[in-house]
């Protein structure tokens, strides 16, 4: 019997001919990523378990990307960055992107892609649940805690239970005003926040393969909001184009066998997709945008690993160009590269940055910022009982900073359309006119 792409990659990294869902195997790790929130704890466990002077298993496979609590006066948060620096120095680690230098990147999941660490066929672990994002490159990637990360630092290995695979196929063409964010919110709404627990979410179909790498990343990014272990999309020419521009490291392409066994398969007609929001306080609390148009908003937030990529800002700019926002609107590029692109990319002769400024939006520095609330002085942090529309990925109580806030998750198109009107608005009203 055949194997899915996830099973094939895991088997290859466990030195096995084949694996089956439920098998517990030890896999060799190609890349371990950590950041400022989980790095310090990981390094402490590593030293405790392997010795003060222990060395990491492979310097070239460790990637450290500070991104969570960056532009803050919080002394503990800044101390944590110092701990990263110290460890990087002790271990002479080559892949570190220090705060306050030209080398600073921003949100780790996009930085991994942009710096060439996402390569088809590889196994990547990160101390962050949205590490599933990298699966857009036809690789196995998932989030882990400090203990597992410390174990990898010392051994280069980790135990994995081979997940069953759920297949989500989209045939046809997505409507112009529908984005990957709408698609994933729709699927999470269908299967629930634990609908894919312990499982792989594999995305297939012409509609999926017609998406850019950034849009594919959005699909895989939110696998964790359905409880998934990983999200994955087979690599194709679009993938290789992106990867070849960023690294010449080797890669290997795996594809799901025709006779592979899926735990679940659902085929959607892409042309029937509509703009979707997740209402407070859960990512599976799905509603059609068109059913929520009377929800009044206090602010809009466009940013994060889910909704702060160049594609996301191109979408927002398309709607905001030449108009004024009605509510406080926060723009937070995920990485420096995205930020630089905002200054370079033009739409009708105007740079994206000018479009946002002229629309009256506030611009933040690249980092996770208010996606996870953060220290009190974090840019865009939700206050009191504000109603927020956000392109981020979680709207559990308190996630964006205030336990009383109401957060609606939406696509960049929907967030921008809503920023212009002050209530939840269908982007189709602006795009299909």
């Amino acid at each position: 019997m055949g194997m899915t792409i996830t099973e094939k990659i895991l088997a290859a990294h466990a030195d096995k001919e084949s694996v089956r869902p439920g098998d517990n195997i030890w896999v060799d790790v190609d890349v371990l990523m950590t950041h400022d929130v989980c790095g310090p704890g990981t390094f402490a466990i590593f030293k405790k378990q392997f010795g003060e002077n222990a060395k990491v298993w492979d310097r070239d496979k460790v990637v450290i990307i500070p991104d969570h609590f960056i532009f803050t006066k919080d002394t503990h948060a800044n101390r944590n960055i110092d701990i990263l620096r110290q460890f990087v120095k002790e271990q002479s680690l080559p892949h570190y992107y220090d705060v306050g230098t030209d080398n600073y990147k921003g949100v780790c999941h996009l930085a991994l892609a942009q710096e060439g660490f996402n390569r088809p066929g590889e196994v990547l672990f990160g101390t962050d649940s949205h590490t599933s994002t990298s699966g857009a490159f036809g690789m196995f990637s998932t989030g882990i805690g400090n203990t597992d990360a410390a174990f990898i630092l010392g051994t280069g290995k980790l135990w994995v239970k081979v997940p069953e695979t759920m297949c989500f196929e989209f045939t046809g063409t997505f409507p112009e005003h529908v984005m990957a964010k709408d698609v994933i919110l729709n699927v999470i709404g269908d299967i629930g926040v634990d609908g894919a627990t312990y499982r792989a979410m594999e995305w297939r179909g012409d509609a999926v393969m017609s998406l850019s790498m950034e849009e594919r990343m959005t699909l895989c990014n939110m696998a964790i909001e359905a409880g998934g272990k990983n999200g994955i999309i087979e690599a194709d020419d679009v993938t290789l184009d992106y990867v070849r521009q960023r690294t010449d490291a080797p890669y290997k392409i795996y594809k799901t066998d025709a006779d592979a066994q899926y735990f679940f398969k659902k085929t959607y007609n892409a042309s029937e997709m509509e703009p979707i929001v997740a209402k407070p306080h859960s990512p599976d609390n799905k509603a059609k945008v068109s059913d929520c148009v009377d929800v009044k908003l206090d602010r809009a937030y466009i940013g994060s690993c889910t909704g702060g990529k160049l594609t996301d800002f191109m979408a927002a700019a398309r709607l905001l160009k030449g108009k004024k926002v009605k509510i406080d609107t926060f723009i937070v590029p995920a990485t420096r590269e995205v930020e630089q692109d905002l200054y370079k990319e033009k739409m009708g002769g105007e740079t994206l940055i000018d479009i946002f400024k002229n629309a009256g939006a506030y611009l933040g520095d690249p980092s996770c910022a208010a996606c996870l609330g953060g220290p009190k002085d974090t840019f865009g942090r939700a206050k009191d009982n504000q109603v927020v529309i956000s392109t981020t990925n979680r709207n559990f109580p308190g996630r964006m900073g205030s336990k009383q806030a109401h957060v609606y998750l939406a696509s960049p198109y929907t967030a921008a359309a809503s920023a212009l009107t002050g209530h939840i608005t269908n982007p189709a009203d602006f795009i299909n006119k």
């Binding site: 517990n24 030890w26 929130v37 989980c38 310090p40 704890g41 402490a44 030293k47 405790k48 378990q49 392997f50 010795g51 003060e52 222990a54 969570h68 609590f69 919080d74 503990h76 948060a77 101390r79 944590n80 990160g126 101390t127 962050d128 649940s129 590490t131 989030g143 882990i144 805690g145 400090n146 203990t147 597992d148 174990f151 010392g154 051994t155 290995k157 135990w159 926040v193 634990d194 627990t197 312990y198 964790i224 409880g227 272990k229 859960s282 996870l372 609330g373 953060g374 220290p375 009190k376 979680r394 559990f396 109580p397 308190g398 996630r399 900073g401 336990k403």
Partner: protein
């Protein structure tokens, strides 16, 4: 590993995510510094909305008056316990506050794994939903050999699911001890603590 775990119940609902277990603004503290780590106990479960905190009545703080230890050491949860971010600060803060076991209907994958691999406490799964059966403050005892949970306040005993293959890691203590026992990493490799 203790064969019996006794403690007072603290009952929560479904989808308790890691931002409710430990809000992100507190993640700045060190988990290895003995003084600083106490903050985690103090803020454990502080993100749970008031009406959901300590069911069925709610509005019961998990820790009181800035203390880092809670009188509740067995958590009863619903579905998808520990969903959300991969932060190990979540199971860690619960252990620091004194939690020794969680009994939930189901877990999010990373939280479950972190609890086991880090040896923070034992995550049990119940056979039938316990959230409406047990009240915050009830006197509980878990018998590991019999795989049961007894509510001494109501004189009722419930079956728990077997811990399955992770029992070996739980018995060893954590993933490092397990790897030493099985020869994956040399038993001499260990730093000072």
């Amino acid at each position: 590993m203790d064969k019996v775990i006794e403690g007072i119940a603290y009952v929560l609902g479904n989808d308790i995510d890691t931002d409710q277990i430990i809000p992100a603004e507190h993640l700045v503290y060190s988990l290895s510094d003995p003084e600083e780590r106490k903050h985690y106990g103090k803020f454990a479960l502080s993100g749970v909305p008031d009406d959901q905190a300590g069911l069925p009545d709610g509005k019961i703080p998990f820790t009181e008056n800035g203390q880092s230890e809670s009188k509740y050491s067995i958590i009863i949860g619903g579905k998808n316990f520990g969903c959300g971010s991969s932060r190990e600060h979540a199971p860690a803060c619960m252990e620091i506050a004194g939690v020794r076991a969680v009994v939930a209907e189901s877990y999010a994958r990373i939280f479950y794994r972190n609890s086991v691999d880090g040896g923070f406490f034992i995550p049990f799964e119940c056979v039938t939903r316990m959230v409406e059966e047990i009240k915050t403050g009830d006197d509980l005892v878990i018998d590991l050999n019999a795989s049961t949970l007894t509510n001494r306040s109501a004189n009722k005993t419930y079956e728990l699911k077997s811990l399955g293959e992770v029992i070996e890691i739980i018995e060893a203590g954590d993933i490092f001890e397990y790897a030493r026992k099985t020869g994956m990493i040399p038993s001499t490799s260990r730093g000072g603590s």
